[in-house]
């Protein structure tokens, strides 16, 4: 029995201490859900540190300094470094980060969602944005929410200017619940 009382007291003290720490302004841990503030610069970083042709003093001058307590200052310096690096290259050949390279592929389609009643969402996705005449257009749609739907959807292809219908197809339910897909023939007069 004395041991049980001792354990209870210890647990109580630990609980109170933990609560005090959580409420303290010194607690900047964001409960482990966020990255530290001085992390994750956004632009591609300098790639010249390993240049063997530069002198030791140059390397010392350009060596990244320790991140200061001011996370903003560290980030700004990082951005400035990036621009200094980028203007060294001609327009037709510039270094890109992975995210930039993906963005500049120039033919991407980000799924577009249409909000429905009761928090439902009607999302359509395509493989890409531009299709060459004759290519098959794969259309994938998903529906979520509390509405009642049939088990098929249709997709119509028409011109943007005068809404002249070209072709249509039925999107059939896939094995994944709520997802539908179908294909359209793009062998029509080029345009939007």
């Amino acid at each position: 029995m004395p041991y049980k009382a001792l354990l209870t007291t210890a647990a109580l003290v630990a609980g109170v201490s933990g609560t005090i720490w959580l409420l303290s302004a010194e607690n900047k841990g964001q409960f482990g859900l966020h990255a530290p503030a001085n992390q994750a610069p956004q632009q591609p970083t300098s790639r010249t540190a390993g240049d063997p042709h530069r002198s030791a003093s140059e390397r010392d001058n350009t060596r990244p300094s320790e991140p200061s307590d001011n996370a903003l200052g560290f980030m700004l310096a990082s951005v400035a470094d990036d621009y200094q690096q980028s203007i060294r290259y001609p327009d037709y050949s510039v270094p890109l980060s992975a995210a930039q390279a993906e963005a500049y592929q120039g033919n991407r389609y980000h799924p577009v969602g249409l909000p429905l009643e009761d928090d439902g969402l009607f999302t359509v996705s395509l493989e890409k944005f531009r299709f060459t005449r004759g290519e098959t257009i794969l259309v994938v749609a998903s529906l979520s929410g509390r509405q009642v739907f049939g088990n098929t959807l249709s997709a119509d292809l028409e011109t943007a200017d005068d809404q002249k219908p070209a072709t249509s197809t039925v999107l059939k339910a896939t094995e994944s619940a709520g997802y539908f897909e179908g294909t359209l023939n793009s062998d029509y007069e080029p345009g939007e």
């Binding site: 302004a25 964001q30 993906e102 980000h110």
Partner: protein
Amino acid sequence: MIVEAKVDGRPVRHASSLTIEPDLGDFEGLGTPYIILVHGFMMDDLSNPPANFEEVQQAGATNWQDYWLNRSEARIDWGSNGRVEGEIAQQAYQQLRQISQQGLCSNYCILVTHSTGDLVTRHILENQARWLQADGLQPLKILAVMDLAGAGGGTELADLAVSVAYNDSWYNWPVKAAVKAFTGIDPQPGKLGVVNDLQTNVARNLAVNPNAIPRLRFVGGGSSYGGITKPFIEGTDDGVVPTHSACGATSAQGIDSCSNSLSMAGKVTGQNGPSGLYYNHYPILMSEGANHGDVITNQTGNTAVPVVNNTVLGGLQVDFASRTYNKRAWWQLWGSGDQYVEVPGSSQTSLSNLLYTTLNN
């Protein structure tokens, strides 16, 4: 030059050489650069399309009159009932010709854009050298572009507008209300003009090439149209343009800040920021309280947060003063509190004035 004098009654001529150069005006440095304005989407052009280009220009002047009109040397006006690669490009081209012929940008100029002006300018930057050289004119020398609430990455409101145009019997009235607030009309297919280009997928597939001219981004986070549009825009927004677009993020994925480590309110903390930024796109200031229209007006009372500071971009010095201070949240009982960053005195001036005065110092 010959100077003649009479010495002892006889003419004596002193000859020396000098040159006379054409008057190119005073070089006032980059502190007072020539400024060219490119406005944003104007909803009135959809409900009441301009009858001629004079009406387009009149609307352009009215759009900027609150702050920038008297601080600029030229404008590129365009009708929002057109498309970026169509009628808008033609209108821009005619004005680019005039600017080149006047030599306004022979000693560099700065473009200031608002909203969709970001997207229009991207198309201009990609093509202006080719367009003008084909006419035997000098391309414009553009030092940098200041994008205020840039819509170059599109907005989800445009995605909805196009869908609503094809759903005349659809009953989701909050979506319809948001779209009507944004476009000013009950959308119909074929009558959305530049809103078609503002769809996220269209905007992000238009004029997508890396460009050497730095794009300096100024981002608002306030509320427009009474807040009815906010629920339909991914991540944070200024009531019209999502933060992913205004910052220049490489993806239309919703984000909350231009920085991974600084909130739009200036709190130094982990954020859902962009995974990447377009090449040469640099977020400079964020202002959580400034809405889409505030960024080009005299609206004060909104604290600005520097994202890039003391940075020389293409010869342009950006030197907003900044400071840090600590603020303790209500639930934090003791300790130093959270760290915030702001531009001192920014709430006493407008975002545009802050930008303009910095450019001129």
